[in-house]
């Protein structure tokens, strides 16, 4: 973006020479804001859950998510697996292995898409909707916004894959892959929290 700067200032002007690259630092800071966004939703969830007393609220058998834990558990496993393949992509490109990175990215994208399809399928199977009291509202808003972030991550991974296919990354220049993988891990961690909170605890 501002590569011309070095030439005109003749100083280098403090451009990243050591430590994190600008895109990676930018992504880390952006994830701080994402954490705070989910913190707001989680705070609402905890507040409403404790205020409700009995959780899940009585009177609707569909709220008993414990009983249908198998499918989301499989989805959780797939998403965790996608974090592994994503990290594998980073390790490959750090060694300059473009083919290996592309293969691992492709796997990650596929797993992400499977997760999204699975979540959409799960939504059709649940016996309650977003308008079914605080349980329905919190469940769909938390999982829905997580799903939106998965979609965002899949799009970023797809761009990485496309650029990887064009051979634009190398062992030295692959900040975007690093930044995307951090984002993907973040999305994964949020899901693990959600899975534990919504289906188990």
């Amino acid at each position: 973006m501002s590569t011309g700067a070095v030439a005109t200032t003749g100083h280098g002007a403090g451009h990243g020479k050591k430590g994190l690259g600008n895109p990676v630092l930018g992504m880390l800071l952006f994830i701080v804001s994402e954490i705070m966004f989910f913190a707001g939703l989680f705070a609402a969830y905890f507040n409403l859950r404790t205020a409700t007393g009995i959780w899940p609220p009585e009177g609707n058998g569909a709220f008993e998510l414990h009983s249908e834990i198998l499918f989301p558990a499989i989805m959780t496993t797939l998403l965790v697996l996608s974090s592994v393949t994503c990290q594998f992509a980073v390790w490959r490109i750090r060694r300059g292995d473009r083919q290996g990175m592309n293969r691992a990215l492709l796997m990650t994208v596929l797993l992400g898409v499977i997760f999204l399809i699975g979540q959409a399928y799960d939504y059709t199977q649940l016996g309650f909707g977003i308008a079914d009291g605080v349980f329905g509202s919190t469940f769909y808003v938390l999982t829905g916004f997580h799903g939106a972030h998965v979609l965002g991550g899949v799009l970023m991974l797809t761009v990485c894959l496309y650029r990887g296919g064009l051979g634009q990354f190398s062992a030295q220049h692959h900040d975007m892959v690093e930044a995307t993988s951090i984002y993907w891990h973040f999305v994964d961690v949020v899901w693990i929290l959600l899975f534990a909170l919504l289906y188990i605890v």
Partner: protein, 541 residues
């Protein structure tokens, strides 16, 4: 130290195309400024509508519904589309120059951040033409903001617009932080950074951690209104207090988001026009950081009367946060003490900031003790307080910054006589408007009412406030005339018209693309002072 651009544009473009597609932080800063002035006009007219209606008892110009839209949109526009973008304007223009960087870290994201501001502002304002703008107050408390009591499209548009403008702020905060952490010139250590850069850094932390929380609240409100959600509706098991908690978790730090960079501007101006270094540089930095940290622990002082927050904690924390602000006041006063003060227009606005923000701080601390807060909650006292802080504080700081940096931005000096006329009209106008509101508040006049009893004894003070409001409006005439004639035929500014201390004055006015072709050695927080006076100046720095 005049600098010339070494690179010409790759191919000739029209200047309009250049401005619409620019990623230059200086042009984006100027675009932010223009957008903020346009929205200032809108927000100002809305305020004058409110004041015209309140000039005397009875409903003369508006009905209650329109009145609700006016005060809601006045506050929203002034906060989200005027003050915050104005500070982004100054930060955008000045911060990369101050730290000797060629641009922001992410110039294209910077352009995205800017363009989201006018677009979101249009979305929010479009409610006026689509059956009624948002009308639940800028705080949008449920159930007032619920679909039942605010059924129009304006509220939905407002929610979407505030999410958009918040996202713009978040991207801007990431950009500022990466720029400040990664792009400082050699020698520009953290503790040699100008105070304005420090305040922008702390503000960015607040934006990064506060704004997304507001986004989450807005998302839930949107779900409640449009998809039958139950978050804030007690009849469905939700909690209206929950909204207030999440909303103020952002919106109290937002007050510091709106004032810290203005404090930074003041801290650049006072030393220059007092011919002294800033007194207690490090104390000022730590006080800024302390305000940022404490800012997240006082939100519930907006909710004392709900009876569902832990009063002693939030009361004590609210007292505490006055301490670092007090430290800053001593910094500023000690900076001016025995200085060779010249009252150029930027200095007038800076001293205006000090006097007005002092009142805003003191009438704010009045609200910290719970019993007093119970008495003055949601009265005009609060309206007085917020305007002394945001108008008398933030906005005078912004105007000080505009008078100070105009010569750098355009290479021309603003006219002093018109500038002083602007200052005095605005200063008198704002006190005439907001000082009587203290008395009105203590007399029990509630905020957000379109009408009041003619026998309540509030007539004269309301009329005074209305006259003051129009005086403020009038004060912009000399300002805009000043900008117009100065751009056409103002005195040439030169690189450093104020004999200032920081790097932005080491390049030409206006600076070339990429800002510098050489930088002075940076061995203190006042590199230009060192360059002018050699090592002799080092003893004082």
């Amino acid at each position: 130290m005049a600098t010339t651009a070494l690179r010409s544009a790759a191919r000739p473009r029209t200047s309009l195309y250049e401005w619409l597609t620019t990623t230059d932080h200086k042009k984006i800063g100027i675009l932010y400024t223009i957008s903020s002035f346009v929205f200032l006009g809108i927000g100002g007219l809305l305020a004058l509508g409110v004041r015209a209606e309140l000039a005397q008892p009875g409903l003369q110009f508006l009905n209650e519904s329109t009145y609700n839209q006016l005060f809601t949109m006045h506050a929203s526009v002034m906060i989200f589309w005027v003050i915050i973008p104005f500070l982004a304007a100054i930060g955008n223009y000045v911060v990369p120059l101050m730290i000797g960087a060629p641009d922001m870290a992410f110039p294209r994201i910077n352009a995205l951040s800017f363009w989201m501001v006018p677009f979101s502002g249009i979305v929010a304002a479009s409610g006026f033409f689509l059956g009624g703008a948002a009308d639940a107050g800028w705080t949008a408390y449920p159930p007032v903001s619920s679909i039942k009591y605010s059924p129009g499209p304006g509220m939905n548009l407002w929610i979407v617009a505030v999410i958009l403008v918040g996202t713009s702020s978040i991207l801007g905060a990431v950009n500022f932080m990466v720029t400040i952490f990664r792009m400082r010139a050699p020698g520009m250590t953290l503790f040699r950074m100008p105070i304005l850069t420090w305040t922008v850094l702390v503000t960015s932390v607040l934006v990064l951690m506060g704004t997304p929380v507001l986004t989450s609240a807005l998302v839930m409100l949107f779900i409640d209104r449009n998809f039958g959600g139950a978050f804030f509706d007690p009849t469905l098991g939700g909690s209206a207090i929950l909204w207030q908690n999440i909303f103020w978790f952002y919106s109290h730090p937002a007050v510091y988001i709106m004032v810290l960079p203005a404090m930074g501007v003041i801290s650049e101006i006072l030393p220059v026009f007092s011919r002294k270094p800033l007194f207690g540089y490090k104390a000022f930095v730590f006080a800024t950081a302390a305000i940022g940290a404490l800012g997240f622990s006082v939100w519930a002082h907006h909710m004392f009367t709900t009876g569902s927050v832990f009063l002693p904690f939030f009361s004590v924390m609210t007292f505490f946060i006055a301490v670092p602000t007090g430290v800053k006041f001593f910094n500023w006063i000690a900076t001016m003490w025995r200085g060779q003060i010249t009252f150029k227009t930027p200095m007038l606005f800076a001293v205006g900031f000090l006097s007005m923000f002092l009142i805003g701080g003191i009438n704010g601390v009045f609200s910290a003790p719970v019993p007093v807060d119970y008495a003055i909650h949601a009265t005009y006292w609060i309206v007085a307080h917020i305007h002394y802080v945001l108008f008398g504080g933030s906005f005078l700081g912004i105007m000080a910054g505009i008078y100070f940096y105009f010569p750098k931005m355009f290479g021309k000096m603003l006219d002093e006589r018109l500038g002083k006329m602007h200052f005095w009209l605005m200063y008198i106008g704002l006190n005439l408007t907001f000082l009587p509101m203290h008395v009105l508040g203590l007399a029990g006049m509630p905020r957000r009412i379109a009408d009041y009893s003619p026998t309540a004894g509030w007539n004269d003070l309301n009329l005074a406030a209305t006259i003051g409001g129009f005086t403020i409006g009038l004060s912009f005439i000399p300002f805009f005339w000043n900008v117009f004639i100065s751009l056409r035929s103002g005195e040439e500014a030169g690189d450093d018209p104020w004999e200032a201390n920081t790097l932005e004055w080491a390049t030409s006015s206006p600076p070339p693309p990429w800002n510098f072709d050489r930088l002075p050695a940076i061995t203190s927080e006042r590199p230009l002072f060192d360059a002018r006076h050699g090592s002799a100046g080092k003893d004082h720095a």
